[in-house]
Subunit: 456 residues, 3 copies
């Protein structure tokens, strides 16, 4: 992965630490912009011998690089590549008392690490923008770290700033329609918006580590035929781990999405797309939301777990939704929800509103949804998590996860179909008692119940 | 990714731009062959201190490289790696009027780009061939682009040449039995055959962009235990996006396969294999074909969408199949088709033959197939797509995708079992009216229908 | 991928072949340890301008490197990266007669290949260990080969040593709690333990080739939110291909796991985890084992094939389990087994104990398991495989796989629920005759049977 001895024009390969016209450690943004300008100067012929503008690769060796100038990418075929995603939990670090912290081995993320330090908070660290045709193509970000450093709580007046998930910072923002981009192996940390891509076609977001961001992945505008796969993702309580709007043919698969996240996946107006073979974990309802007419989507072979916040510093926060919202929420038609496992583990007193029965899958509006062979498991969790000490975060979290085996059952409404929705089909996704719907307007086969006297 | 200052024999690392014996921009094929010869010269001992022939890595920096000499690989452990897959849509470019094109930023693919320019069209750009034992192992292609430049319509006499998907060119052809190969991050474009691998064992084809090729991925001969996963793929109307024959234990998962493609996946004589968690989009019937006794395969958690060609230049082409062929076609036994979503959106007048009801899943021959919990959604699409302007390709396509929410239902034959097939089981994959089969020779449970008066 | 001309401290990039203080080909372990020491010397400030300890990258060019000193990693953000996973089958090589071998092109694995040659067999080649806080983070291993060279049969007194899968060697062992590690593109071969990671959080093991090891992947201790995905894996008959204990939220997806392996996947005390979209192949029962109270896991969209050992040198070995153990074995509660395909192809005389009916899914203990829409296919295989010649290994294996189409059916017990387990639900996973359970204590809907006279 390391770069050449010196950027040589003929090779279209650059190393930010060896660019003669700047100091990458002081402002990697200015250096990358200068390199892009160099590529554009050297690659002016559109059609020279069946080629002409192959783009280039910019290598970022491991190191800390301050970014004081926004990078603006307006050429196709540019690859920016580091040698380490560099994630570490800044959230744990900022919730550790200073006296403990003084013994820590290191306190910052690392790898090929860009420290976002733009005067204009609203600017993305990396902006991709090009008007005209063709759409900008095949820009690649790989194997480096973008770190927003601190949350700042501008909206909350500074209270509990580092836990606010607010700092206005964005890691990568693609604002122009784009084709065949690849984002792989990246680490995005402590950014209000990690990755924001408008109008994507055939995008791959694969094998990244995007966590402790306000929002992790946002596909805005409209788009098609893209993949968000094989990532480790976890947003803060305010934002989305994965958000997409007006996309068709989006494939979200193989991701491990951990808390917190206002939602694990929110698809707004997304159609004919897939959410398959993912693992989702959340501390709040509203894990998967299909809204604004999201239709003809497939949700299959996913594992959903919702349990309770186990970590003291975050106990004061949630996404504001109560347990009637649904862990999976559908406002759209002709979606298929098949062969998913949904676990919820809560102390009954934590369920809101008081006395309510939690809802696993709620069809709020729409028709023709097909909900089949989903298994919902509710279990009663102890309420000791309030006392989770900061220093035992990992063991506490895993301990909470591992409490599954011997827990008492928790009543769940496995499926609720609202009056506003009809013409749906619910098969083997809950017993007759667990499913609430107008059976004269929707079709239903109940999961059979093992004989009385048997405690599942 | 960039290469060393100079190929140094002790390091087994080469950079095509720094090889002293040739000009990679004029003929990268000759340079790579010379490098392979150098590796072979230096690595002659089969057993020198528990090693001896570790192979090497050949780096291709971003740039345009003409390939006038076929590369022949006959050593194991060779990795050829670039720094950019470089895809852009040549199909859009070649269907754009010259007067518009003159304003384009760039007109060719890029990245680490190989321009295939062999005098003998039938030769693959990269040929892997070695007789004897052991099978050639661990050859890797990564992160570069192979561009066939133009389609040529040799069979059609030149009419609409660039839309013919014919030029005789092949990107990579492995003709000898092989083990543990990896193809990752590649871009293959405008080749009649993108990737053709005979007799593969434990092959990985992962995270590539293989599109606008006559055929994208072809596994020929026989093979086992391979993976085609996490790719973006889309062949032309003549060929297959993914084709495999006589394979066992093939795993096709996590791919986003877009139109056109004569088929999205065609498995001929393939057994005990998986097609799971993919997203498929096609403009024709015959999206997934299990033929020639394909048996004991699992097709699960896939999203299928078939709608109408939205792009004017391609309106004259299709794969010649009518709507009775089946979107999913089975000619084999004991296959499992479980938990898939199948959408079809067409104007009724586009369905052929006239007056026919389209078939989602057709079991033409074979027995013991298990078809369960598939949801088929038919919707009526408008017919305005004929007028799709070239310049609005992306928005038009996405617009067509997004039309799902409010469409009227389209009658579908969700499952048809031919007289030649019996002993199959169909569960909850269509209502009694939607499934056509001899119920005395196959087993059937109907999807229940929401009560009359409800429009799903 | 190749490295820079010389390790320059400012760049944090190293090439093992250019490190001045050692000879990587003689002892790469000593060289890497010296490089790590250099990084630690140069990166001492914990907080220097919002950074300070970014780590580094160590590049291993293709070549054979003996490892005589254990590598000890105790810094975060270290990436060790090669340019080739270098797998070849040592198992075939060591079972090939010397007279044939003399004609082979090569006899050892290759790529960026580390030859493990530690005097203390019990030491891992790469040991990751750091006490204190924070947990060591973002160590990455990529694209190189770790070869254990020989199996040694210390426990068996040397008989059939190279087929013993015993040599005490471990490729990578992470003993300290760790966060956000990545293992990608590696080749691990002929090690008793390939990859052993204790106490993992947010680990990615993706796109590796780990085969012909005693055990391939072992996640020990406890852990959460990790991914084992997109790998090619196959352990020897003694050990596990994938083993995990006390993990929550583990996602095992998209793997192609081939024989042999005492188990393909063994999850001990693992909860709320996923096994989805994998392909599993085994020659023994006990392919997927959920034990020690493994609960609330999802097993969906997987293909299981169990057939008979086709290769002469391995005919004397198995995992000691008989056919009543279950191909899928559950000792735990509230697991979901949905939409899987299970094939078994055996000659009836190979089934043990004599006269037994093989069991596909066995729930030995636990309650509340949900087993739905699994299709079990049993077929009678010929017994000619005993005569499989060594030299035709590939063709023989594929031939065995391809025998699916025209085989006679083999009776299977598709689901067995033991008396010790109750409160489970079995839906459409076998006919009334094929499922054995106490129907008064578990719920059941039978797969309907095609009408009499029809042979599926």
């Amino acid at each position: 992965m390391p770069g050449p001895a010196r950027a040589e024009p003929g090779q279209n390969s650059y190393d930010v630490t060896r660019w003669p016209g700047g100091d990458a450690s002081e402002d990697i943004g200015a250096v990358i912009n200068a390199i892009i300008a160099d590529i554009k100067t050297r690659q002016q012929a559109r059609d020279a011998g069946d080629g002409g503008k192959p783009g280039g690769v910019i290598f970022i060796p491991p190191g800390d690089y301050r970014l004081r100038t926004q990078v603006v990418i307006d050429i196709s075929y540019l690859r920016i590549v580091g040698a380490g995603h560099g994630f570490t939990s800044s959230s744990i670090r900022f919730n550790t008392p200073p006296e403990e912290l003084s013994n820590w081995h290191e306190i910052w993320p690392g790898g090929s690490r860009i420290v976002v330090d733009l005067a204009a908070r609203e600017e993305a660290a990396f902006l991709v923008r090009r008007e005209g045709n063709p759409r900008i193509s095949s820009v690649e970000f790989a194997d480096f770290c973008i770190d927003g450093l601190h949350f700042e709580a501008r909206e909350t007046g500074g209270a509990d700033a580092e836990n606010s998930y607010l700092n206005g910072k964005t890691g990568i923002h693609v604002v122009s329609a784009n084709d065949s981009f690849r984002i792989t192996g990246m680490g995005l940390i402590y950014l209000e918006h990690g990755l924001k891509i408008d109008d994507a076609d055939a995008l791959s977001v694969d094998n990244n580590f995007i966590a402790e961001c306000g929002n992790c992945i946002e596909l805005r505008g409209m788009g098609q035929a893209s993949r968000i796969a094989n990532n480790l993702i976890g947003a803060g309580y305010r934002g989305h781990s994965i958000y997409a709007e007006n996309h068709g043919g989006l494939l979200i698969s193989g991701n491990n999405v951990f808390p917190r996240g206002k939602s694990s996946v929110h698809l707004s107006g997304v159609v004919r797309s897939s959410v398959t073979s993912n693992r989702f974990h959340s501390f709040y309802p509203g894990m998967l939301v299909l809204s604004d007419g999201a239709s003809e989507n497939l949700v299959s072979a996913n594992h959903f777990l919702r349990d309770r916040e186990p970590w003291a510093p975050m106990l004061g926060y949630d996404n504001g939704l109560d347990d009637l919202f649904g862990l999976v929420r559908i406002e759209g038609s002709n979606n298929s929800i098949i062969a998913n496992h949904i676990s919820q583990s809560l102390p009954p007193e934590a369920i809101t509103p008081d006395g309510a029965t939690s809802i696993a899958i709620r069809v709020a509006t729409g028709a023709g949804n097909y909900i089949a062979n989903n298994n919902v498991v509710g279990t009663v969790a102890g309420s000791s998590s309030d006392e989770a000490p900061n220093s035992a975060c990992f063991a506490t979290q895993v301990g909470a996860l591992l409490s599954a085996g011997d827990a008492a059952p928790l009543d769940m409404r496995t499926v609720l179909i609202d009056e506003a929705s009809a013409g749906n089909t619910v098969l083997f996704s809950g017993s007759d008692a667990e499913v609430e719907m107008d059976r004269s307007r929707n079709a239903f086969f109940a999961t059979p119940v093992p004989a009385a006297g048997v405690t599942p």
